[in-house]
Symmetry: C2
């Protein structure tokens, strides 16, 4: 990649939306496919997803969850069994109406989510309280027929996992929702370096069929919020729709309590937006497919430099994910641009003078600071730099989020905050649907999250009655 090509990325500050798409395409994370609204996830983008999968799957297994797989297609009559659920999803369903030469007597939905195919199986498998809890998830893709799509952020098909658990009591199901919320928060903050507000959704923003939706909301650098993950307390709604009962130890037949939860490939879009800059992607070390790229700068002493670069790659490879870029068809400058575009946290340059001095030149992707590092002890030195970068990216994102979070005591003040500061606006709310609708209509913002365990004070910004909850509003993806 030449300097000129690299400069073809629009400036992040000037045209955030085009900058985003250019980075997703040029860093080879994804591409448009021949099917409208469907994307192809390229290997470098998929490696980010594999990183999240591996991290999450370990956490899920450590907390007693197991994986399974359920059919891709859901009979229409099953989707209709939970009334709110079908209302929420039917407009977005891709329908299979023909199988081979056979016209189907009942349409089959390409799953938009799998409650309606999993719960009927639970009805077969769960008999007794001894069979509970059931802690299952599946890694798969779902289809939701979207007209206006953007790579990763909103696509007609996306990858996710969907957890579906069944419990003996409401308390157990609620505890599961909160456990998962915590795992997601750790993923976002500790791995992706993206700070999140956590809490619950107001009724109008809940998952179709849920009694309660826990959510994680992040703030992107254009001042818009994005829902990063959700964990749904489904109460007994799906249990009743699909007749999932168990015999409890008191010999009573009871409906199970269920949950469902997910994060999706949308998180790759969050990563691009949260940390990227005018030179492309900036990846937190915890999720970067490569921690380090080594670029030999050959000069006259080609063999010596290459040997030193290979030794370095071997040494560092015992602890880090290392890419040695020894392609001879490209110049060092081209490679610098290429790996900056791809967001590799640390670049090590090795030239003849470095070999002679027993050092490498370390360049940080974020900030671009250069320093010479002795090869002796380089593993620890690089480890320290990577830790610093991880923390720095999180703190920078958090400083942005905090400085773009304000509060308002009137609807006019919300409008002003959204215009001047952007970001989150925290308001008191009486919990009436009418007051929520008023804020939506007059500000263009939506209620993102009601923080947990934070007692409201003051009055509702709309009606002036005593506030029952805090709500963070924002314009949102």
């Amino acid at each position: 990649m030449t300097e000129r090509e690299a400069s073809q990325i629009p400036k992040k500050d000037e045209n955030f939306s085009e900058w985003y798409t250019a980075v997703a395409l040029k860093a080879e994370l994804a591409d448009y496919s021949p099917v409208r609204g469907f994307m192809a996830i390229r290997p470098y983008g998929y490696a980010l997803w594999e990183g999240m999968q591996a991290w999450l799957d370990r956490r899920f297994k450590d907390t007693g969850h197991v994986s399974a797989y359920f059919p891709l297609l859901v009979p229409e009559s099953f989707l209709q069994k939970e009334a709110e659920h079908v209302q929420g999803f039917a407009p977005q369903v891709a329908w299979v109406t023909q199988g081979g030469d056979e016209k189907l007597s009942e349409r089959l939905a390409v799953r938009p989510t799998s409650e309606a195919i999993i719960l009927p199986m639970y009805a077969k498998w769960i008999q007794s309280y001894r069979d509970l809890p059931v802690l299952l998830l599946q890694w798969n893709s779902v289809v939701r027929w979207e007209r206006a799509t953007r790579l990763f952020l909103r696509t007609a098909e996306f990858l996710w996992h969907e957890g579906h658990t069944a419990h003996r009591t409401a308390e157990d199901a609620d505890a599961e929702c909160r456990l998962i919320l915590g795992i997601y928060r750790d993923l976002l903050e500790d791995v992706l370096a993206i700070p999140v507000l956590t809490g619950i959704k107001s009724k109008s923003e809940r998952f179709a069929g849920a009694d309660n939706t826990y959510t994680l909301e992040a703030l992107m650098p254009d001042g818009q919020a994005i829902q990063a993950g959700t964990s749904h307390f489904l109460g007994q709604n799906f249990a009743k729709a699909f007749n999932v009962k168990f015999l409890d130890s008191d010999n009573q037949e009871k409906y199970i309590w269920s949950t469902s939860w997910a994060v999706t490939t949308r998180l790759i879009g969050c990563l691009i937006m949260a940390h990227g800059d005018d030179r492309g992607l900036v990846l937190p070390p915890q999720i970067a497919p490569y921690h380090i790229v080594i670029v030999p700068i050959l000069g006259k002493e080609e063999a010596k430099v290459l040997a030193a670069a290979r030794d370095l790659a071997k040494t560092l490879g015992t602890r880090f994910r290392v890419k040695l870029d020894d392609r001879d068809a490209y110049t060092p400058g081209w490679k610098f641009n290429e790996w900056e575009l791809r967001g590799v946290p640390v670049r090590l340059e090795v030239g003849p003078r470095d070999v002679a001095a027993g050092q490498a030149v370390l360049v940080r992707r974020s900030g671009g600071a250069k320093q010479a590092v002795p090869v002796n002890g380089i593993t620890d030195a690089v480890g320290k730099v990577l830790d610093e970068i991880q923390k720095e990216l999180f703190h920078r994102a958090k400083a942005y989020r905090d400085s773009h979070t304000t509060s308002a005591d009137s609807v006019e003040a919300i409008v002003r905050a959204l215009a001047e500061v952007k970001g989150f606006v925290k308001v008191g709310w009486c919990e009436s649907q009418q007051c929520e609708d008023t804020i939506r209509e007059r500000t263009g913002a939506s209620p993102r999250v009601i923080p947990l365990d934070e007692k409201a004070r003051g009055n509702c910004v709309v009606c002036g009655k005593p506030a029952k909850a805090w709500v963070y509003y924002a314009r949102a993806y």
Copy 2:
């Protein structure tokens, strides 16, 4: 599981087909779903798939392959671009004709395989010989509209990976096919303990659109062969259909050479059949979700026995996958049946007398031999037993296969061998389609595999002309 319930499994020798289905269901590997022909893969079955995935993915990555993801839906016009391909797959396609409220102007196929959606992307991505090879795969599910289905062996949806690679020369593409064939053979023989014949398919049995199909064929204990995996040399057929060209170093534009390859969840069906017995599953240690189940037999000294069982689980857990079954709602006998049904290779019983003697009683699932093992040094002792079991299962399956492989020098001799010995029958063949058709029609067997690097001798069993190839025939799944 009581002795009575365990005995409800039909005898493997008496009714192989019902035995198979009973084991798949009762060992909780899979279940029928509300959608005809689609199964739900339960956690214990999915754990077998995860084991294969992890093993294969490591081998794929070690040989330079990367993962990606392509759309679930394929426009009909794309599927039609390769003439043989569409002929082969169109009769089995599930068609999406409606998205939300919108009737689609072009039908979309739920992918039966993804050449027709991946190759168009390669046309965008590949420009120069420097971009080659492209070594991609995806882990996903595909749908093929089947009427007569059986759990794992033939289902309307199955899980697989599909590799799709692009190369500069025919030789490179062929070498890729053989590399993958070798990886699959190692999976089958070293991990699943299932011996396979490897080689190529005759023309009539090739993948639709391939110039050559490499295959692995296993023999099941009912004397029928099963195709365990395939690796296709696609020549330039798909390159031409989708116009995938590159500029070579000689400045000429050339079509790429491509391959595709897969193994599927059908392998779980092979595992059940190859090793299972009248008590249920028998799993080779390399793939078993649990190597060892520990069953405490409490007696009077409950606390002491439980503590000893937990210590043992901790010790063995450092090297093996261990399940401690300390549920108090079930008797030891119930647990023995349950874990035998689920095929765990080694059971360790720990009772009061064992604790006093500093030992555990080791019972092998296969064969059922019992031996007392001192707790001191038990990790190495169990490791040795697991190695023995792995080898023993392979050798038993191979002995069966070898004793059910015969040769024939006439069509009548094939009929006789299939009736008397069953299994594979090796014959000489002149390579004419007519002679192949004659054998098919008169014997009910199909040509399974033409061994590589084995020069034919003698004459064609049908026409008597000089044989050009050996072919193994068998009745097949």
